[in-house]
Structures are given as C-alpha cells and as structure tokens.
Amino acid sequence: MNKTLQLLAWFAVAIVGAAAVGGIALHRGESINALWFIAAAVCIFAIAYRFYAAWIAARVLVVDASRATPAERLDNGRDYVPTNKWVVFGHHFAAIAGPGPLVGPTLAAQFGYLPGTLWILVGAVLGGAVQDMVTLFLSTRRNGRSLGQMAREELGPIGGFAALVGTFTIMVILIAVLGLVVVNAMKHSPWATSTVAATIPIAMIVGIYMRHFRPGRVLEASVLGVVLLLLSVFGGGYIDQHAFLRGLFDHDGLSLAWWVIAYGFAAAILPVWLLLAPRDYLSTFMKLGTIFLLAIAIILLQPEVKMPALTQFIDGTGPIFGGSLFPFVFITIACGAVSGFHALIASGTTPKLIASEADIRMIGYGAMLLESFVAIMAMIAATVLDPGVFFAINSPAGLVGKEAADAVATISSWGFPVTVEQMEILARQMGEATLFARTGGAPSLAVGMASIFGSAFGQHLLALWYHFAIMFEAIFILTTLDAGTRVGRFMLQDMLGNFWPKLGQTSWYPSVLLTSAIVVAGWGYFLYIGVIDPNGGVNILWPLFGISNQMLAAIALSVGTGILIKSGRLKYAWVTALPLSWLVLVTTSAAWEKITSDDVRIGFLAAANDMSAKLAAGLLPPDKAAVAPQLIFNQQLDAALTLFFVVVLWIVILDMLRVSYRSLSGKPVRPMIEAPYVQTQLDSAWVRD
C-alpha cells in the first residue's frame, strides 16, 4: 500500500513537471508566470535526484556505505574530518555557487527565456550534477586527490598537465570577466562604488575581531559584519546625496579597473585572516540569505515573465554577445548547467569531510541541483524586466549609441519598445544617474531583484534594494577574485618551483610578491582591455570564460569516463560519456566560430582584421584609433587562447580514448589507484550529533 502511494506521488510529480515544462516551452502569449519555472525546476530536480542520481550511485558508481572514507581513515581534526552531511552540503554549496549562475543566465536571456531555461534544467540533470557527483566519488575513493592528480595517475602525464594549465588559464579569464562585471556596475555610480569600497574595511574589522578580539567566534563576528554591510548600503545613499563625498566615489570604468587591480594585488599578499577569510564569511551569509529571500519573494509575488520565449537574436545578431543559439547558449550558461570548475572543489576539498559514501549523492548531485535552481531564479529576475529595459541596460554603447535617444531608438526598432523617460524614471527609482550600457548582468539582475523585492517588501525602498543587490553580487565576486588570485599564485609557485625551488616556497616573501604580481597582471590585462573595448568587453570575455569552463568540465568527465571503462563498467560509461560528447561538440563548434567566423562580432580574427583595415584607412575616430592597436592584438591573443583551449581539450579526449582502447583490448594500462577497502568503524550517530 505504502509503495503504491509513493509510486502515485512520484507519478503526480512527473505529471506536474511535464506540464510545467510543456507550459513554458509552448506558451506564446504576452507574459508567463514565473511560478511555472519554479514548478518545472522543482519537479524535474526531484525526479532526477530520486531516480537518476540514486541509480548512478547504486549501479554505476556502486557506493558502499560500509567502506571507511578518507575523512574517517585519515582523521586529523583539521582538513580530514568526518562531518555531518548537512554541514558538508553547506560547505560544498557555498564553495561551488559563486556569481557565475547569476551572470550567465542574465546574459543568455537575450535569446529569450526558453533556451537558457531548458539548458539549465537538462544540463544540470544529465551533465553538471553527474560530473560533480562522479568526481566527488572518484576523489573520495582516492583519499581526496585533486582532479589534476587523478588525471595524471589514471590517464597519464598529458592529461594531468592539461588539467593544470586549464585550471590556471580559466582562473585568469574568470577573474577578469568578474572584475569587469563589478566595474560596469560601479562606473559613475557613487552609491554602488562607496558601498562596494566599504566592504573592504568591514571585512578587515571582522577579520581583526575573529583573530584578536574574540578568536574563533565566527558567528558573532559575522553578525557584526552583516549589520555593518547593511549600514554601508544606507551610508552609500547618504554619500550619493552629498556634493563633495559624491565626487570622491564617482569614477569612470578605467580608473575603477585600476582600483580593482590594485585591490586584487593587495588582497593576494595580505594574510588570509585579515581580508579573505572574513570576506568569505560575509559573502556566504549574504549569498544564502539573499537567495532564500529571492525564492520567497518569487513564490509570494509570482511575477510575470515579460521576455518572449525566443527572440530574433537566436540568429546570432544579439546585442550583448554575438553568436547564434547553438552553440553559444551552452557556452554562456556554464555555471548553473555544467561547470568544470566544480570538479576542482569536488576533488580535493569536499571528499576530506565526507563521513560516509552514502552521502555522496546528496552532496555531489544535490548541491549542483541547488545551484541550478539559483540559475533559474536569475533567469526569472532578468526576464521579469520589460525586454526593452533589459536590452537598454545590457547593450554596450558601441553598439546602440552613446546618447540615450539613439539607444532607445535602436532597441525599440528591434521590437522591444522602451523610452528615454522610462529609463530615466527607472534610474531615479534605483538611485542611479543612468542605467544605460551597464553590460555584464549584475545591474539588470539588481534591477530585476529590486523590483521583485520592492513589490514583495516595500516599493519605496527600490534604491536600497538595488544597491543591496549590487553589494551582494560585488561582495562574492570580490571573494572569488581574492581566492582565485591566491590559488593562481599557489599554482604558479608550484610550477616555478620546478625550475628554481626557492620560488616554490609559499612563505618566501619575494616569491609571493613576484607570483602575485604575475597573476594579477594576467587577469588585470584582460580586465583593462575589457574596459577600453567600446563593445563592452563582456562580448569577448564571457564566451572565452564559457569555453574554458566547459573545457575543464570535459576534462573531468574524461577522467570519469576513462576510470569507468578501466574498471570494467563500459556499459555504464555513457553516463559520463553522453555529457562529455555534448560538451566536446559545443566547445569545439563555439571555438571554431570564435576563431574562423567572418562576422566581426563573433570571430576574433575577423574583428582584428576589420579593425586593422579601418585603422589603416583612417576611418576610426581619434579616441578609438588610439586604443585600436591594443584591441587588435587582444583579439589575436583571444583567438590563440581559444585554439589552445580546444587543442588541450582534444589531447585529453584522445588520451582518454587511448587508455580506454588499451584497457578494452586487454593491453596494460596504468593501474587503478583506489585506496583499499577498510570497514567503517564510525558510529553514524556520532557524526550526526
């Protein structure tokens, strides 16, 4: 009886899910209620978790709850600690969910709500969550080895090297594009700039409190920090009204970019306890709190999504980034659907905390589904805006015109009516001078969130909600920037240590300064170019980030597929091989287009040649001619980088196929390096206290 009831309940969930997906896919009216998106996501994720993830855990990976995990066997009370599964889930989710799932869907909304939404749902269930869970499992079976180590030991040195280089370059591109998102949100906005600037001393106060005043009292210090952050949002409003103070925080994009670069360097060489660790506590609490609040507001308010299901920009002429629906929607939304970066967290860090292999499904698969849910909410927040407003905020000035009248005329001519007055009123409500050409996703998301929060919790507070949303995004973008620069530094020190051992010492100060400067110069260069690019930079950097992130995912899935085949589970290898094939197809075709396309908005080389021709013919105005040589070089560099990513990807794929072929034909391959079975002694009640 009980079983029949359960079956009926799951059947009902399936029907509701199918109806919701069918509804959002086939709906062609004026607007569609956001609850359909929530219903579709909840039902699909529930079914995927209950059936697909459970099947993978039981049959493909064969998780064994009786097997002692590295956390138990190597328990040292510091990094290897058997931990309550909800606590591990919290740590893992806080680590994987950064600004990516907020920015990607917002940018991809230029195609309409449908392509991005479907890709988030399908990509997470069949790709991203599978990658995270499989990688987590493999690393847990290998004492918490990193992805790079597993690639080296299971496939060979080529795979290991590719994973290492891939991780380093992705980090550089990621930090640059996130820096650009923050700069675009702060330019000529004293309120946003002062609020974001205030997060630095606030983090330091929290750091000093936790380090010296009340050591280790994390919760007290975090509460203090959150209160100060909220005050800084109010304080920003005051500064914005003050003639003198306003001037101190009113800057153009380029000077803000220099500030971000200087900040990045300072953050990389300061001790972690002073800036990075306390900032991370604040950003984690803010992130979880805001996402929870957004979910409540969407459910309470049930806003209408006004963006059409599909726009004409699926043909590749979109204003935010050039390129057609296939393959670019799959590159633009990486985090939220499949993110290779997660494989770095799922190997190395999280496995050292897992108390039982039985927890792997919830932590690996479940946390990714939650991140995917955040991406769906970002999609909702972007598409509840009038499409005209959405495009006015996100279209770069180089494309639609610098003057407001030109911009609204261009955008209205696309069939998305918007007026100068509408944009002025909106800017005034949000406490900004202008909202035009704030490319990057953060401001339009903030406007979307502010209108949702405003309707749910008080319309008169719109400007506060807007700057709260900007601060919320900026604070964890800056956390990623700090943490990423530091990781880049460690990796560089590790590599350079092969040539001169002294450089490899992470505590030798000259090496710290040198390697930090190199890493900051790396991302600082791309950030600088992104800011001076009249087409907004996001058009170049975000696809590059997407390609590199999907490349890393493909490496992780290759490692998974290779190990499944080596361990005699060929018939299940499609579980990772299917998303792997899709990613290879998507990444390769996107890279091909970015390199060879004749369209100057898509092809890097086409853009470089076009600009060279214009420069030679004297067609560029003086301000553009001055930066043209840099932009031309950068486009060529981007083309080379894209080619490099694809070559690395194919080397790993071919290496995996070679190992699989040898294994299947009975030739010797590298042995599996799984840690031997030890019966668990852990009393699960002790861990779950």
Partner: protein, 67 residues
C-alpha cells in the same frame, strides 16, 4: 509553546555553529581528548587562538571558491 520549539531551535543553533566553524575549537578539543587516551600526546592542545589561525590557514590553502 517554547518547550515545543526548544529542541528544534537547539538543533538549528548547533547546526549553524558547526557549519560556520564557530564550534571548531571545541570539536578539536574533544578529538584531542579522545585521542589522548589512545596516543598519549606529548604536546598540550593548541590554544584557541593558535588553533583558529592554523584552521584558517589550512582552509584557504587551495581552491576553495568557485565561480
């Protein structure tokens, strides 16, 4: 009413402390005491301040935040 909610509140508070690392030192002391019976440590346990510093340095040594 309060009696009804108290266990749930207590659980939530314990969870919050654990997930944020607020109780990390207490957990370390418990582990130290448990191991002391087995191993007979030579060194006394770390002070709260020293433990927290080591814990934090270790936490941020590697890729800990993603996109």
């Amino acid at each position: 009413m309060l009696r009804f909610f108290r266990p749930a509140l207590n659980r939530t508070w314990r969870f919050l402390r654990q997930v944020s690392g607020d109780d990390a030192y207490e957990r370390y002391l418990r582990l130290y005491a448990a191991n002391q019976k087995k191993h007979r440590h030579q060194a006394p346990p770390l002070s709260r301040e020293a433990f927290f510093k080591a814990w934090q340095d270790e936490k941020w040594d590697g890729i800990k935040r993603c996109c």
